[in-house]
C-alpha cells in the first residue's frame, strides 16, 4: 500500500522534530519518492547513521509499504 507524502513527513518529524523536509513524488504514484532532510541532529554523524536515523523514524515501513525513497540528509 502506498504511503502519502504527508504521512512520511509526520513520521520523520515525530523522531526528528527540527527536521526540514522536502519530498518529491518522482513518478506521481505515491510510491517513488526523493527526500531532502535537514536537521541539527545529523551533526557529527556518519552518512550511514544519518540515513539509519531516517529509516528508523519510518518504523519499518521502508522497504515494505514504502518501496522507494531516495534520501539526502544534511546538517541544518
Amino acid at each position: 500500500m502506498p504511503l502519502p507524502i504527508k504521512e512520511i513527513k509526520e513520521l520523520i518529524i515525530s523522531s526528528i522534530p527540527d527536521a526540514i523536509i522536502e519530498i518529491k513524488d518522482l513518478m506521481g504514484d505515491n510510491n517513488h519518492y526523493s527526500a531532502v532532510i535537514k536537521s541539527k541532529v545529523f551533526k557529527g554523524m556518519s552518512k550511514i547513521d544519518q540515513h539509519k536515523l531516517v529509516y528508523k523514524s519510518l518504523k519499518g515501513k521502508m522497504g515494505n509499504e514504502l518501496h522507494a525513497l531516495s534520501i539526502k540528509t544534511g546538517e541544518k
Binding site: 550511514i48 540515513h51 529509516y55 531516495s70
Partner: protein, 107 residues
C-alpha cells in the same frame, strides 16, 4: 550455514561485494543499476550477489547491516551504504578516495 555466516563469508572473501536485485549484467531495479553503473564507471572489480535468488540472503543482509533496503555495498568488510550514499560519494569523489584508501584498484 546461516544467512549471517554466509554473508560474513561473502564479504570476508571478496573485496568488493554488492548485494543487489538482479545481476551486474542485468540489474532488476533502478537503484541496483545505479550502483552497478558507478562501480563499472570506476572500473572496480566486484561480486554482485543477487538477493532475488535467495530469500534468506535478502532478509539476512537487511538484518546484518541494520539497513532496510537493497542494494548494499561492502568494501573490504566495511558497509559503505546504499544507493543514495554511494551516489553521493561518487559525485563528491569520496568513493574513489575510499577505494584508494583501501587499496582497491579503480579508475
Amino acid at each position: 550455514m546461516s544467512a549471517k555466516d554466509e554473508i560474513k563469508k561473502l564479504i570476508e572473501s571478496n573485496e568488493v561485494c554488492l548485494f543487489m536485485k538482479g545481476t551486474p549484467e542485468s540489474p532488476q531495479c533502478g537503484f541496483s543499476m545505479t550502483v552497478t553503473n558507478v562501480l563499472k564507471h570506476l572500473d572496480v572489480k566486484f561480486l554482485g550477489i543477487n538477493v532475488l535468488e535467495d530469500e534468506s540472503l535478502r532478509q539476512g543482509i537487511k538484518e546484518f547491516s541494520d539497513w532496510p533496503t537493497i542494494p548494499q555495498l561492502y568494501v573490504k568488510n566495511e558497509f559503505i551504504g546504499g544507493c543514495d550514499i554511494v551516489k553521493e560519494m561518487f559525485e563528491s569523489g569520496d568513493l574513489k578516495k575510499k577505494f584508494d584508501e583501501k587499496s582497491i584498484s579503480c579508475k
